[in-house]
Amino acid sequence: MSRSVIQLKVNQSWGPFVIKCIDCVSHLNVIKQHEARIAELESMVAELTQRPAKGGVTDQPLVPIDDMPPDSGWVHLKASVQGFRKPFLQDAHDLVIEGENAVLIVCDGAGSLKHSKVGADFVVKHLSSKFLELIKAGEVFNQESWRERARSLFLEATQALKAKSQTDRHNFSDFGCTCIVVLAGPDFVACAHVGDGRAGYLDASGHWRALMTPHKGALANSTVFMTMLEPASLEQLVRVTFIPARTRAVVALSDGPEDVCWKVSTFDPSGQKVIDPNQPSNEFLGKIANQLVAYTVKNVPQEKLDKLWQDFLTEGTPKLKTQVDDKTLLLALRG
C-alpha cells in the first residue's frame, strides 16, 4: 500500500504534520491506527477546497478576456465616489474613446485645499479636450513626441488654471490637484502624471503592469500638485512613460482605492524594509476585467455598468466601504 502526502489540519494551522508512507510496516501501522481521523480530515480538506474563500467571489459569471467580441471596440468602467462620511467629492475623471484610442484622465483634488475640486474638474476638462484634439488631428506618438506633448499640455493646463484663479480672485495654490493621463493607442500605451494615484496596462503575456511611479513623501498622503508646475520643474514633476506595444486593457485610479487593487506596500526581508512593489493585482483587475467582458457579451448598457461600478467603489469590499478618501477607478479594455 502506498499513500500520497497528506497534510493534516491541526489546531487551526496547516502542517507541518505530514505523513509519508513508502510501504513500510511502521508507517502502515501509524496509518491504520489513525485511519478514521485521516478519513475525516481528508473529507474536510475536500470540502474546504470546494468552498469559495470567505468574502471572495461566489458565483459571479467570469468570462475570460479572450472571449471579448473582437468588434466591440473599447468597453469601460468609470466612476468617482466620495470617501466615507466625506461632505463632498474632490476627485474628477474623464474617459474618452476615439476610434482605436482610449484616454483615461484622473484628478484628485487635495483634501485640505479650498478649491481643489474646481482645480480637478478644470484640469480634467482641459486635458480631455486637448488630447482629443491631438488624436483627431492624427498626431503620431512615439517616445519623444509623447514626452514633449504631454509635458507641454500639462503646463498649459496649469497656466490656464492659474489665469482662472486670478480672474476669480482666489489663491492659486488652493486649486491643488494631482493628475494622471493614460492614452492607449493602436500600437502603444502612454502615461503622464503629476502626483500620486496609480496607472497600469495589460501586457502581451496577460499580466498587469504599472505605468507610473507615484510621487510620494514619507508622510502618508503627501504628494505634488499641478499647481506646482513651472517650466523649470516640468521634467521633474511631469513623469512620462511610453510603451511601444498594443495593449488590450488599461487602468487609472486615484490613491483612494489603491490599497484594494494594487500591491503598494510589503515587507522586504532582504532589506528589512517596507517597500512599495507598485504591482497591480492580477487577481483583482483580472476578475473585474472578466466580469466586464461577461457584461459586454450580454450587452449590458453603459449606464448600468457605470452604476454597478459606482456601487462597487462605494462599498464593494470592506476597505472600500470605510475608505475616507475619494475613490476613482477607470478601466478600459478592447477585443
Partner: protein, 229 residues
C-alpha cells in the same frame, strides 16, 4: 434586468502607521478616582481599537509616558492591539515639561524608525493629560517648551494636544499649545468619553482624513468641559 454586482478580493497591504504618545500626569494629586478613571479610560480605548472594523489596531502605535517626580517611558510605541496595559499608579510631583519633551522625543524617534524602515506614516500625536501645573523648578522652561511645540507643529513634525483635568492650570496649557490645536478641558472625569472620541478621530486620520476635519466630525460634547482663562 438584474445584474450581479461586481466582486473581487482585496489586496493585502502593509498598513500605514500613526504613532500616538500619551503623556500622562501621575503625580499625587491624581490619586483616587482620577487615576482609576484614567486607567479605565485607557483600557476602554485599547478595547475599542481592537474592535475597530477598519483595522485601526494594525495602524495605531501607542506609546505611554508618565510624569510625576520622574519621567518614565512605561510603554515604547507598539501596535495598540498588542499593548499589554497595566494600570498606572501615582507618586510625587509634576515634572510636566520633562514629560512633554520625552513625548516629543518618542514620536520623533519613531518617525526616524519609520523612515529608516521605509514605512509611510501619518503625522504623530503627543497628547498630554494633567490635573496640575509644572513644578516650580520647571516654570522657567515654559517659554522654551512653548517654542519647541510651536516649531514642531509649524514644521508638521507632530500634533500636540493638551487635556486639562479638574485642577489643571488651563492658562499654562493655553500658553504652551499651538492655536491650531487649543487645549481642552475634560468635563469631570470623563476619560472614557475622551478616549472614545480620540479613537474615532484617529481612526479617521489613519484612513486619510485631515485632522481638523476628523476632529470636527467626531462630536466632543460627551467629554469637553470648555474653559475660559
Amino acid at each position: 434586468m438584474y445584474e450581479k454586482p461586481f466582486e473581487a478580493e482585496e489586496v493585502q497591504n502593509y498598513s500605514q502607521k500613526c504613532c500616538v504618545a500619551l503623556v500622562l500626569d501621575t503625580s499625587s494629586s491624581m490619586a483616587g478616582e482620577s487615576i482609576d478613571q484614567l486607567n479605565f479610560g485607557i483600557q476602554s480605548f485599547l478595547k475599542e481599537i481592537r474592535a475597530d472594523t477598519a483595522n485601526l489596531g494594525q495602524k495605531l502605535e501607542l506609546g505611554i509616558i508618565t510624569f510625576d517626580t520622574a519621567v518614565t517611558r512605561v510603554f515604547e510605541p507598539q501596535l495598540a492591539e498588542s499593548l499589554n496595559f497595566k494600570p498606572l499608579t501615582v507618586n510625587g510631583t509634576t515634572m510636566m515639561i520633562d514629560g512633554v519633551r520625552e513625548g516629543i522625543k518618542m514620536v520623533i524617534q519613531r518617525k526616524e524608525w519609520y523612515k529608516r524602515t521605509g514605512q509611510t506614516y501619518f503625522r504623530p500625536w503627543v497628547i498630554m493629560i494633567t490635573d496640575g501645573d509644572p513644578d516650580s523648578v520647571q516654570q522657567g522652561e515654559l517659554p522654551r517648551l512653548a517654542a519647541e511645540i510651536r516649531q514642531g507643529m509649524d514644521d508638521e513634525d507632530f500634533w500636540f494636544m493638551a487635556i486639562g483635568v479638574t485642577g489643571a492650570k488651563m492658562s499654562t496649557l493655553e500658553f504652551i499649545s499651538h492655536e491650531k490645536m487649543e487645549p481642552r478641558k475634560l468635563s469631570g472625569l470623563k476619560f472614557s468619553e475622551f478616549f472614545r472620541w480620540l479613537s474615532s478621530t484617529i481612526a479617521d486620520v489613519a484612513k486619510g482624513q485631515n485632522v481638523s476635519d476628523a476632529m470636527k466630525k467626531n462630536s466632543d460634547d460627551a467629554w469637553d468641559g470648555g474653559f475660559k482663562i
